[in-house]
Amino acid sequence: MKEYIVRRLLLMVPTIFGAVTLIFLLMNILPGDIAMMILGEDTGQASPEQVARIREQLGLNRPLYVQYFSWLWGIVRLDFGNSLWTGQPVFHEIWIRLPITLTLISFSVLISAALAVPVGILAALRQDSWVDYGLRLFTISGLSIPSFWLGMLVILFLLIVFSWFPPLTYAVIYKDPWTSLQQLFLPALVLGYRQAAVSARMMRSSMLEVLKEDYVRTARAKGLMERTVVYLHALKNASLPVITIFGVEMVILFSGAVIIEKIFNVPGVGTLIVDAMGRRDIPLVQGVVLIIVGFVLIINLIVDLIYSWLDPRIRYH
């Protein structure tokens, strides 16, 4: 196991390097002049001096390879440059908003697991009954309804019925855990519903497959109670693919958080990147994308490790 962890960690190094390079290429090679974008290309009022000043400020007048190595060297020192809007270091801007986004995402994962596992098991046990069809409708709706619209409907409903508004300020989890969880419950529920839909579908098909296995028949044949067979024997093996999908879905949750945070006014990393886009604050956009990709890689690593711990065969592939 130790060897596997070390190998996985070593494999992460080229991936991170690749991601850093890719972000650089995205921002610098794609057509479109960042300096012009920042000045507002549509107004057509930017004077050549202004463009030159912005390029100077961003270091865009240096040769590409110099820019690349200074971007790399900056990342090693956790220096992602300064925000064009606030002038604060990008890393600091992200750092103060990260806890609330991570709380939101973790909370959504918990909610979705609490929904998905029972829904998936129930649908599998009652396959092709009206319960199954009903649950299928519930899950496929979760995949089809855009979460931002669902969020809007929740707010609209609460606004009309209870004159409730999303809070103007959000508490931080490590300062005031109870208030924080209360405030984040609705956004986490909206965000978690979609993930619950994906995981429940997975849980269902995985459970159906496992229930057909020989060892489950053996367990039943030796007279175990159905409950024991399902929850002790089948569930354990059926959970394996679901854990993988949880990893994949964590990645999707970062996308979802961007838009849900905006709707519920949650001052997290998602709101930060959307505002940064609006203000064409390219260094900040780069930094947030990099941090998110970093988290995705860490989550993938953790999922792989859990998976290999649960299913030792993986390690020897």
């Binding site: 995949l143 619209w149 996308s255 990147i273 886009m277 390219i282 780069q286």
Partner: protein, 296 residues
């Protein structure tokens, strides 16, 4: 991995029946899938026929009728500039359909070609391409689309490009495993033995046999593409105004929650129905074409 996706023509579709018979059988065996196909078809028709279906000009403003509630004149009400909401929703189908289909096509075709070639070549070419794909996979779809839009600037073409790029590695991964399985088949060996060129083998023998997983993935991405387009528009980074788009209509409606709640309802129903139809169709196609891909 190689055994996981065995690509064969599905047994129940191998017969020499005509298309009509196949369609009839499909709708009998998969009523939900047929309903999905109907929704998708209806949306395509609405998009094509929108100039004839829409009761009013979607960009014409009537400031005196701003935020009118649903009535005989404005069936679904009017927005803050007095534009007919129903007409904007009907025209909005165009953007969703166009972006959805083109982005899916672009992303999956590029991903497929790249990966089929990579799987066929093997060796360091394969390893390099796969590492790049791994890196691309670490970027969440919407985040990557947002970053690309930030650099390219808002336009219809750029939205399509921005949504298609995240699909490249995701489509590639599925088609790749299919291609790896096909590569080991005897008919490939036979083709090589009679001296067929590499490209001939890739395009005439490997690719056509990867169609089943391709169709399944493409349908799944169509739904995602429609959702991502709506999200980008919602965040103000999609197709620039005044072109009607469901996502932007929703974003604009948020300011008038109290006075015009209907503006927040109907565009959302349109998005949900479209994606719902695509998902239902996708589920049924997956069952028919390859039951072993159920885990996707």
């Amino acid at each position: 991995m190689a055994q996981q996706v065995e690509v064969l023509a599905p047994p129940n579709m191998q017969s020499s029946d005509g298309w009509v018979a196949i369609l009839l059988r499909f709708s009998r065996e998969k009523p939900l899938g047929a309903a999905g196909a109907f929704l998708v078809l209806a949306m395509i028709l609405v998009a094509i026929l929108s100039p004839w279906l829409a009761p009013a000009d979607p960009v014409r403003t009537h400031v005196r009728d701003a935020l009118a509630s649903p009535s005989g004149q404005y069936l679904l009400g009017s927005d803050e500039l007095g534009r007919d909401s129903l007409s904007r929703i009907i025209y909005g189908a165009r953007v969703s359909i166009l972006v959805g289909f083109l982005a899916t096509l672009l992303g999956t075709v590029v991903g497929t070609l790249l990966n089929v070639f990579s799987a066929y070549k093997g060796g360091w070419v394969d390893i390099t391409i796969q590492r790049v794909m791994d890196v691309l996979l670490a970027f969440p779809t919407l985040i990557m689309a947002l970053a690309i839009m930030a650099v390219l600037g808002p336009s219809l073409r750029n939205v399509i490009i921005a949504i298609s790029i995240p699909f490249i590695p995701r489509a590639g991964r599925v088609v790749r495993s299919a291609a790896l399985a096909v590569k080991e088949q005897q008919y490939i060996e036979a083709a090589r033995a009679v001296g067929a060129s590499q490209w001939r083998i890739v395009f005439l023998h490997v690719l056509p046999n990867c169609m089943a997983p391709y169709i399944i993935v493409a349908t799944a991405f169509l739904g995602t593409a429609i959702l991502v387009e709506a999200s980008l528009s919602f965040l103000g980074l999609g197709i620039p105004p005044p072109t009607p788009s469901w996502g932007r209509s929703l974003a604009e409606s948020m300011e008038f929650f109290n006075s015009a709640p209907w503006l927040a309802i109907f565009p959302g129903i349109a998005i949900s129905l479209a994606v719902f139809g695509v998902n239902l169709l996708g589920d049924a196609l997956r069952d028919v074409l390859d039951p072993r891909l159920k885990r996707l």
